[in-house]
Amino acid sequence: MKAVVLAAGKGRRLWPLTENRPKPMIPVANRPILEHVIDALDGAAVDEVILVVGSNRERIQNYFQDGQDWELDISYVVQEQQLGTGHALLQAEAQIGDSFIAMNGDRIIDAALIERVWDRHQETGDPVLSVTRVEEPSRYGVVELDGEMVSSLEEKPLPQLTTSEYINTGVYAFEPDIFAAIRQTEGTGEQALTDTLTRYIDDQRLRAVTYRGMWLDVSEPWDLLEMNDSLIAYEGPSGTDPARVDDSAVVAEAAIVGEGVSVHPQAAVLRGVTLGDNVSVGPGVVLENAVILSDVTLKAGAVVTDCIVGANTTIGPNTTVEGGSTDVVLNERVYHDVTFGGLLGDNVDVGGNVTITPGSIVGNDAHIGSAALVSGRIDDSTHVERG
């Protein structure tokens, strides 16, 4: 069975991490989100995956190649411009001759979800989507049900306008006739897949299966820390290469360590930490609840808590990301009391004795001079000096 996975979206809310990589390639528990998706597809007996890729597609292609490591046949189609999910799916039309699974590449789910959607589609021949309950449904596509049939589908409705707790998980099973339906959908600019599904709803053909398993979505940066922490617990720790960890350093059970990592004397890598490949953890560094991407250098005495650190970033000696809860303003919205020490982009050069206050977001290639105090949002390539 074939699956089309939409992985062309840019995911602007996770700036600056999504400047250099598509959202599905952001690592959680040291593996890209998309790899968790591919694993679920593999577990559901999918044998051929068509990835719809767009901006920064090289990152996806380099990582997954032709799928041999997953014993899957992986091929790529390119969505040159971001013209909506319907348009993205349409790019795969030439590869599809029969019923297939379509899903998003940036949400982590279980194989069971895919199997249930597929089975129901096989039993009925109708298009099927799946729904799950979440705390804040109005952040997603809210689905109203009449028995098993979908009676409405509304993207991010005002909370007062809906009573349903069900949201669309973004996993579908379709017949190839979906492509004609997408083309016939009148669009204003973007072709959203959900607009096309409204037609099926009008014909009373769109079915939903309800699902209570794992469904993890990263909308805001701090979601990444939470997802990382829960997946480490779920998947268990990876083996650490003992030769690269000094005897006097501590690496917690609930931490994942990539290849070629060095942990110097007296360093502590505590709960909820993942270290990407080729990371150097200097003497006396303390890390807790942190996602550290590949090629990062943490110099002596740095303390990094509740924080995401982009690839190839250097954090100077005795620099502190203090962590903890704070109110964060992001994209014109205030989020109260989130645990978020900060997010540093790729290739950031942070000097010694810098303090990064909770909720800070630092753009790619920024330079933070020694002893600076950082707060709020710092743009790409900015130079910040102690003032």
Partner: protein, 600 residues
């Protein structure tokens, strides 16, 4: 060089052999052909690429051999394409290598045999025809034939009415793949890697009779056994994964290749390296000179290695173009180590230089990308660069991995010889560790390089200048451009410009200047001024914001210590790629070139 493949099994052989040729196409693509052998032998040939050769429609034959050719003797025509047959058309032969005595053999055969082609190969089927007339087995006929041949060869032979295929190897590479109910033949494992990872490497002098389930190997007439080995590479790594060209895919694989090159070899805590070199420490301490032998891109990596080794390993280093190499000058072979750098491990010029050094009594070390390749057997010890398979004819990731490996070797030798300071060790190892991330940043800035490439694509000539470690990178970057864009490009030591090449500089010839760390950028800036006053546009590759005011276009690269010129090379690989792409060149298969050259 050429590529050989073959299949003996149960499926229609035409399709499988054809696919094998596609996989081997990087070894040569002037012409291609297939012979299918059952009760009769049918031959299908074409001039040009494998794609021009239709998959044989014949579905009832499960035994076949194929060949993709890169011309050495005779033009790339359909007549000269392999397989070659005897007068009866019952014996078909594919051949990689050169038969040195073919003219005498041909003269002797000419009275009784009709020759159709200009190739050296064609003598082989006619010789076999003569021996088969004595009513011997195909194996015996091939044994008798190879005894008459001089030169280097890998051949595969089928004959009507004889079961299976007989292969023979003398220097040129050849291996056998063992599948379920099938046996495969390849010049390298790429030919059949999607079918099996179980292989037997034949050794020089081996002649083997292959059937669907069996392999009998003879050497000097005696039966021998050769081990079956499991390949570590898989077919996945040889696909294009959505990229337009292998070259672009391989450029993008560099951060990963570099992490592999250093993975497990650096102990950051102890600031030491482990290269798994068996050469004894006493020997490494005693050597007075290292001679590096290599060709093409590997030669440039050798020049970079010289910069590092002379500065930090306290040893005199000379770098030799392999085809020009002789062990001479009254050197003491006991105090000379010869290092052969070859991506494929099969480069004939390099192997021949290595053998020359061995005969003189020097110890040898191979630096290669290919497990099980000839150089790994010939040299006393081997260090692998671990870049993964490289298919694009223009070498990219293997260059950076060769330099990374040379850096590790420098630290190792420096420590053994106690010539390197701990500060320099830390600096080199940090630079190595920073390299993957720095290269990734170049890839993230691809769009700006592409824009510049399109701006300058129509220039008359391109000159690359650099000093110190920037000099080999200037040579390598110029080679990349000329290989794939067919533009005239030259690399010069920056100081040499005023001694001649400056006469070539005009407003139509952009000059690309390496203004990085470890390349004496301040001095090169003087040379930038020289060319600018002749009106030439200058592209500066630099991590120093101050340098940008001296140049017209800047390729801004991240700081990366002594290996910063390697980062610059990646930017210039992309520049070459996009200049060639703007001209719509056949980037993975540049005209007249082949991936690894197994003829001298």
């Amino acid at each position: 060089m050429c590529g050989i493949t073959g299949y003996i099994g149960t499926e229609p052989a035409g399709r499988i052999v054809h696919q094998g040729l596609k996989n081997l196409e990087y070894r040569g693509y002037d012409s291609a052909g297939i012979a299918l052998a059952g009760e009769t032998v049918s031959v299908y040939k074409t001039e040009g690429e494998v794609d021009e050769l239709p998959v044989p429609a014949q579905n009832d034959v499960a035994c076949g051999i194929g060949h993709t050719r890169w011309s050495t003797h005779g033009e790339p025509t359909e007549t000269n394409a392999h397989p070659h047959t005897d007068c009866s058309g019952d014996v078909a032969v594919v051949h990689n290598g050169i038969i040195e005595n073919y003219e005498e053999l041909k003269a002797a055969l000419r009275d009784q045999h009709i020759f159709k082609s200009d190739t050296d190969t064609e003598v082989i089927p006619h010789l076999i025809e003569n021996h088969l007339a004595d009513d011997v087995s195909l194996l015996t006929a091939v044994q008798r034939t190879t005894a008459q041949l001089e030169g280097s060869f890998a051949i595969a032979v089928t004959a009507a009415g004889h079961d299976g295929v007989v292969v023979a190897r003398e220097d040129s590479p050849l291996l056998v793949g063992h599948g379920e109910n099938a046996t495969f033949i390849g010049s390298d494992a790429t030919a059949f890697i999607e079918h099996t990872d179980q292989v037997t490497y034949l050794e020089s002098g081996d002649i083997a009779r292959l059937t669907r389930e069996d392999i009998e190997i003879y050497n000097a007439g005696e039966p021998v056994t050769r081990e079956i080995e499991t390949l570590e590479w898989d077919a996945e790594a040889a696909g294009k994964s959505g990229y337009e060209h292998y070259m672009l895919k391989e450029i993008h694989e560099q951060p990963r290749a570099l992490r592999q090159a250093i993975s497990g070899r650096i102990d950051e805590l102890a600031t030491s390296v482990d290269l798994d070199i068996d050469l004894p420490a006493e020997y490494l301490r005693s050597i007075e000179e290292i001679q590096i032998v290599a060709c093409g891109t590997s030669y440039h990596a050798g020049l970079y290695a010289k910069e590092l080794l002379e500065a930090h390993a306290g040893v005199r280093v000379t770098v030799h173009i392999a085809s020009e190499y002789e062990f001479g000058g009254d050197r003491d072979p006991w105090r000379t180590m010869v290092v052969a750098i070859t991506q494929s491990g099969e480069t004939a010029d390099t192997l021949s230089a290595l053998r020359n050094a061995k005969r003189a009594g020097a110890r040898t070390l191979a630096v290669t990308n290919t497990l099980g390749s000839t150089v790994t057997r010939d040299a006393d010890d081997t260090v692998f660069i671990r870049a993964g398979p490289e298919i694009g004819v223009a070498a990219t990731k293997t260059f950076v991995s060769q330099v990374a490996t040379a850096t590790l070797l420098t630290v190792h030798l420096g420590q053994v010889r106690q010539s390197i300071t701990s500060q320099t060790t830390t600096e080199l190892l940090e630079s190595l560790r920073d390299l993957p991330g720095a290269v990734q940043q170049i890839l993230d800035r691809e769009a700006t390089i592409k824009d510049a490439a399109e701006t300058y694509a129509d220039s008359e000539s391109f000159f690359y200048i650099g000093r110190q470690a920037g000099y080999p990178v200037a040579l390598e970057s110029a080679l990349k451009l000329k290989e794939i864009s067919y533009d005239h490009a030259e690399g010069f030591a920056a100081g040499e410009l005023k001694h001649g090449p400056l006469a070539l500089v005009t407003p139509e010839t952009p000059v690309i200047a390496l203004l990085t760390n470890a390349s004496a950028a301040e001095k090169t800036l003087n040379n930038v001024n020289e060319v600018e006053s002749r009106g030439a546009p200058v592209i500066g590759v630099t991590s120093d914001p101050a340098a940008t005011s001296h140049v017209d276009t800047t390729f801004d690269i991240p700081e990366c210590g002594p290996l910063e010129p390697v980062v610059a090379n990646v930017a210039l690989q992309l520049f070459a790629y996009y200049v060639a792409d703007a001209k719509d060149r056949a980037i993975d298969k540049p005209r007249n070139l082949a991936k690894s050259v197994t003829v001298e």
